[in-house]
């Protein structure tokens, strides 16, 4: 009897723990959703219970966001930046990752570690000189500055990710292609790349989410509203004077956050195996 009792006590503690973690992690997002659809009269009334709708939900914040603010423009900017950065990253990181994976000498290993370490050089150390470089190039206050700068962290990150994936690809496949008359470069283009398409897709998703998540460079380089990416626009531009428009802000944050959250969840396992780069064997 005491054994059964202690077991059920354990079960209760277990599910209590799980509930705690779910609430801790997800409550701010629940709060975003609730705020985004609540009418202002409900939102700014301290006597109402804040956890659910005391008045019927409304779409007024969403319509305001799209009609009266630059939100749609910011989404478009982010899309544009994401696409350009992804292309630059693919063109440079796919060959680099392949090269790192196939280098057999000590040099390859050293280069791989060096590239990994550049990912750790923080934006807050580089933003001052980069802002001067961008001013010299005449790109200040333009989203193209972000297209130029974002690859500085997506290239190291994705090269490192792809290195891990290419290492898992048996070189015998390429060797067989070479025996059949393919050149070394042809073997890379015709064999290695098609076989690593899932990895490349992962890289595309993560480059995109990394550009959406970035804040420091965007804050430093872009100050005119119409050039801002969505993360920056929502977090800095929806405040007029000292007045916060919480319904609009939360609606904007929600729209920008949902795709990133979905992408992350779908690709999480690949992301982790890439980031740890075979730390577990």
């Amino acid at each position: 009897m005491p054994r059964a009792f202690s077991r059920s006590l354990r079960e209760v503690a277990f599910f209590f723990g799980i509930t705690f973690f779910v609430i801790l992690a997800a409550f701010p997002f629940y709060w975003m959703v609730i705020t985004a659809f609540k009418p202002n009269s409900d939102l700014y009334d301290v006597t109402n219970v804040p956890f659910w709708f005391n008045e019927p939900p409304t779409l007024e914040h969403l319509t305001y966001l799209f009609k009266e603010t630059l939100f749609a423009r910011w989404l478009l900017n982010s899309l544009m930046i994401g696409v350009c950065v992804t292309m630059i990253t693919l063109v440079t990181a796919v060959p680099a990752g392949y090269s790192l994976a196939r280098m057999t000498s000590r040099k390859g290993e050293a280069l791989g570690i060096a590239i990994f370490l550049t990912y750790l050089v923080p934006p807050t150390l580089l933003f001052l000189p980069l802002s001067r470089i961008i001013a010299e190039l005449g790109l200040q206050n333009s989203m193209w500055s972000l297209v130029l700068v974002y690859p500085t962290f997506t290239i190291p990150f994705c090269s490192w990710l792809l290195m891990g994936f290419f290492k898992a690809l048996p070189p015998e496949i390429e060797e067989a292609a070479i025996v059949d008359g393919c050149s070394l470069f042809g073997a890379f283009i015709k064999m290695a790349i098609p076989l690593s398409l899932p990895a490349i897709l992962t890289v595309v998703i993560f480059t995109f989410t990394l550009t959406l998540q970035e804040f420091v460079y965007a804050l430093t380089f872009v100050s005119s509203s119409s050039q801002k990416p969505v993360t920056l626009g929502v977090s800095t531009d929806l405040i007029r004077g000292d007045v916060f428009f919480w319904g609009e802000i939360m609606a904007g944050a929600l729209i920008a956050a949902v795709p990133v959250a979905v992408a992350y969840n779908l690709f999480l396992d690949r992301f982790i195996s890439g980031i740890t780069g075979g730390a577990i064997k």
Partner: protein, 309 residues
């Protein structure tokens, strides 16, 4: 015909010959990435170092060398020492809290139960969502008047509306808020890292330890923990680097306030170097991150080496 064709095909075949030499091709393939990184990470890093020993400002872009004057001026400023202290408190506070939550969460998620996938998806949210947007949501939750946290505390009769905490207005509470948000952001990452490490341990090792009489704690701390240490170290390095150099949470939540209580290195560098345009002092402030980063890098290299052996 063949004689005419020969001079045309020769350079082509030489190019092919070059591309068919493995080491040449490898160097060509990696070159664009290396050049990009050298130009936009290596060069700016050197520039930042030079700025810190120059008198460069936006208004007077001079390359005049002033030695360590910028650094001595910064260190003499008591606000800066507070900023430095804040940065350490912020980093270690949030990493410690994140690790504890991560270890505990991984321990719970290790066990299969119905709905585990959904639970994992929900728990991963804080790490997935852009930190700026999440910070804004927290700011709304810590609002001085409409805080949902205060509402709950009042409804539970823990505090009254008159003395409800002003989360972002009190120096200690503001620091606590910043730490909580950062720990909240990183604990899902810690969970995932712990899970990846633990599931990679071969079950027979744990079984063998159990057969040899190792209890729950002994298995946990003398078998599992040492085995997952390399992967946890890599995760922790990411956490420390990105926390120590962070700017976004503080910038959006408190603007370094109240009265500098949450100012951190990244934020101070931004305020001085970008907002005030004093590039040289801003660069000098940012460079205070470098020693910590170097230590972290050395530790990383040691872990990577150890893994190799």
């Amino acid at each position: 015909m063949a004689v005419i064709a020969e001079p045309v095909t020769k350079p082509v075949s030489r190019l092919h010959f070059m591309l068919d030499r493995r080491e040449v091709l490898e160097n060509i393939l990696i070159a664009p990435a290396i050049i990009y990184v050298l130009l936009l990470v290596g060069l700016p890093l050197l520039l930042a170092m030079y700025y810190s020993v120059s008198a460069y400002t936006i208004y007077n872009p001079t390359w005049q060398f002033v030695g360590l004057a910028n650094f001595t001026q910064i260190i003499d400023n008591p606000n800066f020492l507070q900023t430095l202290g804040n940065t350490f408190i912020f980093t270690f506070g949030s990493q410690l809290l994140g690790l504890v939550l991560g270890k505990f969460g991984a321990f719970l998620l290790l066990r299969p139960f119905p709905g585990r996938k959904i639970v994992r998806a929900l728990i991963i949210l804080p790490f997935a969502v852009p930190v700026a947007l999440a910070t804004i949501a927290w700011q709304w939750m810590f609002d001085s008047l409409y805080s949902v946290i205060n509402w709950t505390l009042i409804a539970a009769s823990i505090v009254t509306r008159e003395d409800a905490p002003n989360w972002l207005g009190n120096p200690y509470l503001a620091m606590l808020c910043v730490i909580i948000i950062n720990a909240w952001r990183f604990f899902p990452f810690a969970i995932v890292i712990f899970l990846a490490g633990i599931t990679a341990i071969p079950q027979d090792i744990i079984d063998a330890a159990t057969v040899d009489g190792a209890g729950f704690w002994r298995r946990n701390y003398q078998i599992i923990l040492p085995m997952i240490l390399p992967i946890v170290a890599i995760g922790l390095i990411f956490g420390i680097v990105f926390t120590f150099t962070d700017l976004s949470i503080v910038f959006l939540l408190t603007m370094g306030g109240p009265v500098g209580a949450t100012s951190v290195l990244g934020f101070a560098g931004f305020q001085t170097g970008i907002v005030s345009g004093d590039v040289s002092h801003g660069a000098a402030i940012s460079l205070f991150m470098l020693p910590v980063l170097l230590v972290v890098v050395i530790i990383t290299l040691r872990f990577i080496r150890r893994r190799e052996i």
